[in-house]
Amino acid sequence: MPVMRYREALNAALREEMQRDEDVFIMGEDIGVFNGAFKVTNGLLKEFGEKRVRDTPISENTIVGMGVGAAMTGLRPVVELMTINFSLLAMDQIVNHAATIHYMFGGQVRVPLVVRMPQGAGHQLGPTHSHSWEALYLHVPGLLVAVPSTPEDAKGLLKAAIRDDNPVIFIEHEYLYGQRGDVPEDEDFVADFGQAAIRREGDDVTIIGISRMAVTAQKAAEQLAQEHEVEAEVIDPRTLRPLDLDTIVKSVEKTNRAIIVEEGWPHGGVGANLAALIQEQAFDYLDAPVARVTGADLPMPYSKPLEQIAFPHEPQVVEAVLATFRDV
């Protein structure tokens, strides 16, 4: 299998789907002439032309809304927003329109729209460019939410998202864009939504890592094995809606401990939601309270030392895992 960077895998997914289906087009700020703020759309304007690779003004709500309108009338738009922070400007079109229209109109039309955007801290972009908000979109019935953490999933899930008939919030991660990994070349390779990946098997504790934190969780798991003789099972849900709760519950039934690691805020976060689900469904199996490791409960600071301690790293995960053993 060829090795690709995460951004190249996304680029390949867009290219393949645009080649496969004339109705697929992409639009967003600086995705064409500029080749994308994070170079995900590199070369696509040249290959597909201005009709299908559309640079837009800086008008997030309207770009997404036009995607909704185009999706309702037969096209399959992929809208790029420069960061997840900017998606809040489009919240009305995403929540009140994209997510609602199929239900509100009794199933008369579909909204096969993909909204792609990166999230995440680590580049010193301060409090308006660095947040992780999968929880905001997870909250909304009618949306699908994907949080790929590997180049393979980036490609497979984006292709699936484009082919799906529902609106998909596709959350990439700025840190991951440069990461390499094996990616299937097969143009028919499509990842399943609602299928978690077990990144590492283990019997002692289940660590569920969201987005980039799936990577952090794996590193922490290696450390736990080497330094603490704890074998952690690491699960990457890959999509939050639909959620593969079966894989998570099955793992917890085996390990009796669960930790959720996410970069987003703690209150009302993905971890809060998963903790509730796990205790609803696997309460009798738990030997310790479900634990969470989350981003700090504050707007992301700019200064590097502050930023670095404001989102989780391996040591916090290791410590949280060990605490579940001590507390019992």
Partner: protein, 417 residues
């Protein structure tokens, strides 16, 4: 940028052909009677939520919709019963939607604010002010992309012209040369805030100039004026591939919604506008032109009233959606998408979904009770039947319902919520 708006109104005052003219009149009368009856049904608690009536605005609706081809897209707001009717949707299904019944245009999911008829390319009523503008541009983009010459007509109110989507969408539509007509139905008020209190520039058709969108105006109280102006705008959008902004100046005779005490305007002002009643004025001109015999309007009225009677009966007899349909159509299911949680399929067993279903059943029963109570009240034949007197919540059987206010407009009255 010479526009029709600059020509004198009298230049375009040719009456349509006799049959067309009579059809226009009948359609305006149908909308009027539908709206009046909807108001009465609201007073009897058969219609829930908010109800926004377009009485007084019939010429803007019929004049505009009749200027479209069948393949053109039409998209409107929360005041859109008339647009659906003018597009050809049966009053039966629109009334059933108001009643929250399965035979409603949206199967009872949308209600009065969210009428939709994909078969007639009526692409929806929308509850978010200004929310439909980007959608309209997206539809026009589809037409352009697919190489068709369909036009999208996007109707919104004067209030929506102050939303960010107005400027964003006009700019993008002009930039991308999209075949879309933006029709601002200027009924003088954004809910209860008058035009001069919400807009620095009150000539709304001028507000596209800075975005490269030419403006036109029409007398929205006069169907004979509205029709050719929208017709010209649609033709230009179709042929010249560019958006046009049309301001239709009109007035709603009723409140913003049924729960509107109308403290922001005087009775005298309403009376002045009522003198320009678009239906009466048009009927009179048809009589003068010999298109309508004396007494024929009464006969037409009997016809449309009978049609509305049937619509009410249809809506009454239609079923409420069954509780087990609660989760239908949240997602398009099938193919690779699996593993749902909090949707439905995982609900069996441990998930609370079963409780939700049970609760839905109880709510269903309560709705049934509600409907039965309404029928009882119906029999008592309260004075709410007079319609015109039942504008506000206070003098109806719905006095116990929350009153609409600035900060509750659009709020969802979800059952049990």
């Amino acid at each position: 940028m010479a526009t029709r708006a600059e020509s004198k109104k009298k230049d375009r005052e040719d009456l349509p052909e006799r049959d067309d003219a009579r059809a226009w009149l009948r359609q305006m009368m149908l909308i009027r009677r539908f709206e009046e009856r909807a108001g009465q049904m609201y007073a009897k608690a058969k219609v829930g939520g908010f109800l926004h009536l377009a009485i007084g605005e019939e010429a803007t609706i019929v004049g505009a919709v009749r200027a479209l081809r069948d393949e053109d897209y039409l998209i409107s707001t929360y005041r859109s019963h008339g647009h659906a009717l003018a597009r050809g949707t049966s009053p039966d299904n629109v009334m059933a939607e108001l009643f929250g019944k399965v035979d409603g245009t949206s199967g009872g999911r949308g209600g009065s604010m969210h009428i939709f008829d994909v078969g007639r390319r009526f692409m929806g009523g929308y509850g978010i002010v200004g929310g439909n503008l980007p959608l309209a541009a997206g539809m026009a983009l589809s037409s352009d992309y697919q190489g068709t010459d369909d036009v999208t007509l996007c109707v919104f109110g004067d209030g929506a012209s102050n939303q960010g989507t107005f400027g964003e969408t006009l700019n993008l539509a002009a930039l991308w040369k999209l075949p879309v007509v933006f029709m601002v139905t200027n009924n003088q008020f954004g809910m209860g805030t008058s035009l001069e209190r919400h807009s620095a520039v009150t000539d709304l058709h001028r507000r596209g100039e800075g975005f490269g969108v030419p403006g036109m105006t029409c007398d929205g109280m006069d169907v004979v004026d509205t029709h050719p102006v929208i017709g010209e705008a649609v033709a230009r959008a179709r042929d010249e591939r560019q958006p046009i902004l049309v301001e239709a100046i009109t007035y709603r005779f009723r409140g913003h919604s049924m729960a509107d005490p109308e403290e922001y305007r005087t009775k005298e002002q309403v009376e002045e506008w009522r003198k320009k009643d678009p239906i009466e004025a048009f009927a009179q001109r048809l009589e003068e032109a010999g298109h309508l015999e004396e007494g024929e309007q009464d006969k037409l009225d009997e016809e449309v009233v009978a049609q509305i009677d049937e619509a009410v009966q249809f809506a009454d007899e239609s079923d409420f959606p069954p509780p087990e349909s609660l989760y239908d159509d949240i997602y398009v299911l099938g193919g690779q998408v699996k593993g749902w949680y909090s949707v439905d399929e995982r609900s069996a067993g441990v998930h609370k979904g079963e409780d939700e279903r049970e609760m839905a059943g109880e709510l269903g029963a309560r709705s049934q009770l509600h409907a039965e109570t309404a029928r009882e009240l119906d029999k008592k034949d309260t004075k709410a039947d007079d319609g015109e007197d039942s504008d506000t919540a206070e003098n109806t059987d719905r006095g116990d319902l929350p009153k609409e206010s600035a900060d509750s407009d659009g709020a969802n009255q979800s059952p049990g919520g």
